[in-house]
């Protein structure tokens, strides 16, 4: 009796799911081991994180405020992945959405009920505009959207930094390096948690329904998994690609609007706080399933919140970035490992 490994072209969903869980657990164990080696107490630290996150409503509210932008960015990346496009530029589109929304709030006077929708629409449009050039370059010239969207992140960060320290600097002189407080804000529904969160969850459910039940969603999925077959079947793959990528940018832009008008209240440099990059993690861990991003965004928010709580221990948000990278590496390896199964060979075979 002997055993051998057999590779399947596509992993079984249950095995793939188990591999995802295992990658997160292994990354946390690795991080714990590193902390132990540098003389910290990983279990005590983890206990503290869990207690201050889930032990009080303040902790839960903070968690919700981190969860919201992560869900928007995660959805943005997930939507693009559905048609096989890498939107690594959610960070930039998020900044542009915040920038455009802040511009409307600061310089276009109007009643609250009109301003908030106007800000949401301009935020989404600004996000879509920011991904327009990479989209067209990919659709018509085959230029890698992965690199172009990413490079625009740096431009967007510089733009927001420049306006909030220069032309749009708070004229009262009280605040450094930010604009004045926005005159309107997204209303809260629970403590300090604003309506940006339920809107994001509704968006996730809506997108899941679109991908599962509509013809458009079906064609997008086919266009992503087998573009050749989709084209052969007469589906307008290029048009879908353009629409999906613009939608992706718009979702990230809307997230930026909610952040500036709901959570922060002012436009300032670094408002995106790596949410765009962590959003890639959220989407990849959820295997680009919109409903799955709700769970993975929650996980990432917990990890990010843990990093913030542990700042006094010499850890930074960058440590969190390193930890998420570790999860991503294990997830990539796990994806491949999940395709193997052990088969028992019969005697004499």
């Amino acid at each position: 009796m002997s055993y051998r490994l057999q590779r399947l072209p596509v992993a079984k969903p249950s095995v793939a799911f188990a591999a995802r869980i295992a990658s997160v657990v292994l990354a946390l164990l690795t991080a714990g081991l590193v902390l132990k080696l540098v003389g910290m107490e990983p279990l005590a630290l983890a206990g503290r994180v869990l207690k201050s996150t889930f032990g009080s409503s303040f902790g839960l509210e903070d968690l919700a405020l981190l969860f919201t932008p992560l869900l928007y960015c995660g959805l943005a990346v997930a939507v693009a992945l559905r048609i096989g496009a890498w939107n690594i530029g959610a960070e930039g589109q998020f900044n542009l959405g915040a920038f455009a929304a802040a511009g409307i709030a600061l310089f276009v006077p109007g009643p609250d009920w009109a301003q908030l929708p106007a800000m949401a629409v301009t935020g989404a449009l600004a996000g879509a505009a920011w991904i327009l050039v990479p989209t067209l370059a990919r659709a018509y010239a085959g230029v890698s959207e992965l690199i172009t969207t990413l490079l625009l992140n740096f431009v967007a960060l510089l733009l927001v930094y420049w306006v909030s320290t220069g032309p749009w600097l708070d004229p009262s002189g009280h605040a450094l390096a930010t604009t004045a407080r926005l005159p309107v804000s997204v209303p809260e529904f629970w403590g300090i948690v604003h309506w940006g969160l339920p809107v994001a969850v509704i968006l996730a459910v809506g997108l899941a329904a679109v991908f599962a039940f509509t013809r458009w969603g079906y064609e997008v999925r086919i266009g992503g998994s087998n573009p050749g077959a989709a084209r052969y079947a007469g589906m307008p793959v290029r048009r879908h690609l353009i629409a999906v990528m613009l939608l992706s940018g718009a979702i990230a832009g809307l997230g930026g609007m909610m952040e500036v008008a709901g959570t922060v209240g002012r436009l300032q440099g670094g408002i995106s706080n790596n949410y765009g990059y962590l959003g890639i993690m959220v989407a990849v861990l959820a295997r680009a399933a919109p409903l799955g991003t709700i769970a993975t965004a929650f996980l990432m928010a917990t990890i990010l919140n843990g990093g913030i709580i542990l700042q006094t221990q010499g850890l930074t948000t960058h440590t969190v970035l390193a930890l998420t990278g570790l999860i991503l590496l294990y997830a990539a390896i796990g994806d491949e490992a999940a395709k193997y199964r052990i088969v028992k060979l019969a005697k004499g075979a």
């Binding site: 590779r7 890498w86 690594i88 050039v133 990479p134 370059a137 010239a141 085959g142 230029v143 890698s144 992965l146 690199i147 172009t148 990413l150 490079l151 625009l152 992140n153 740096f154 431009v155 510089l158 733009l159 930094y161 420049w162 220069g166 990059y277 890639i280 990849v284 010499g314 850890l315 930074t316 960058h318 440590t319 969190v320 970035l321 390193a322 930890l323 998420t324 990278g325 570790l326 991503l328 590496l329 997830a331 990539a332 390896i333 994806d335 491949e336 490992a337």
Partner: protein, 311 residues
Amino acid sequence: MDILAGLIQTAFLAGGVLALAALGEVLAERVGVVNLGVEGLMALGAMTAITTVVASPHPWLGFGAALLVGLVVGMVYAFATVVIRANQVLSGLALTYIGTGMAATLGKPVSGSPSPATFRPLDLGVLSDLPFVGRAFFSHNILVYIIFLVLPVVLHWLMFHTRHGLNMRAVGENPAAADAAGISVMKFRFWYTALGAALAAGAGAYLTLAFVPSWSEGVVSGRGWIAVALVIFAGFRPVNAVLAALLFGFVTALGFVGQARNWPVAASILSMLPYLGTIALMIVPVLAWQRMRRLMAAPEGLTEPYFRDVR
């Protein structure tokens, strides 16, 4: 004239970072492995170099330490993507996150302070004293000459004029055919990916030992990604890669000159130039030179993991 000489001088200095990282990426991509972790490797190299010279102020020691760290991390990356054959995009992004995050965390003690040992410009005697030419071409540190003269020539010769280079390109273009011809696909891919990663980390060391020269969290700021883009623009050729890097050094230098001379443009806007320029250079050639497309095309087997049993 003085401005132009200064511009060219700065173009070499600034372009050197991109050139070294791009050469590393050329090595990896020619054997069929795309490494999107350059940004993270550069951060790790930059942090390693300055931490080393703080302990012992010898620039070569710092540079060597960065190369070594890059090689080790590159071997981990190659293990994941070549041996286990995990997805290269995901693994590369992971490497960027891990490198950037670790460098920022471990580099905190040396953040902000200038490097205690740097690569100084060489004095080439009469050559360095020549008007214009002396400043533009003969007043650089030793790394600039290695990166712009020695490495591209050696790598070009290796890739296009030796049997070893032919094998190397075959592995990137058609791993199944290379395998059938008795070339070890895995060995080539593993070691050139690791070597490319070492050069990327070396580019980070160049940043903190010769160019900036100090460490801060944002010191790499997208240069790794620009280097990855340059490789595509350069058609995966070492000589083109350093020329493209020089062009980008020139764009960066323009931004510096603008800031120094108080041009009526905000510094942040000038800092956008390299990123916008990279995007333009990725898009324009594809549209403009349709005929060059095949000559400049990526290796056929790029990002494709090789499985002997499913060819």
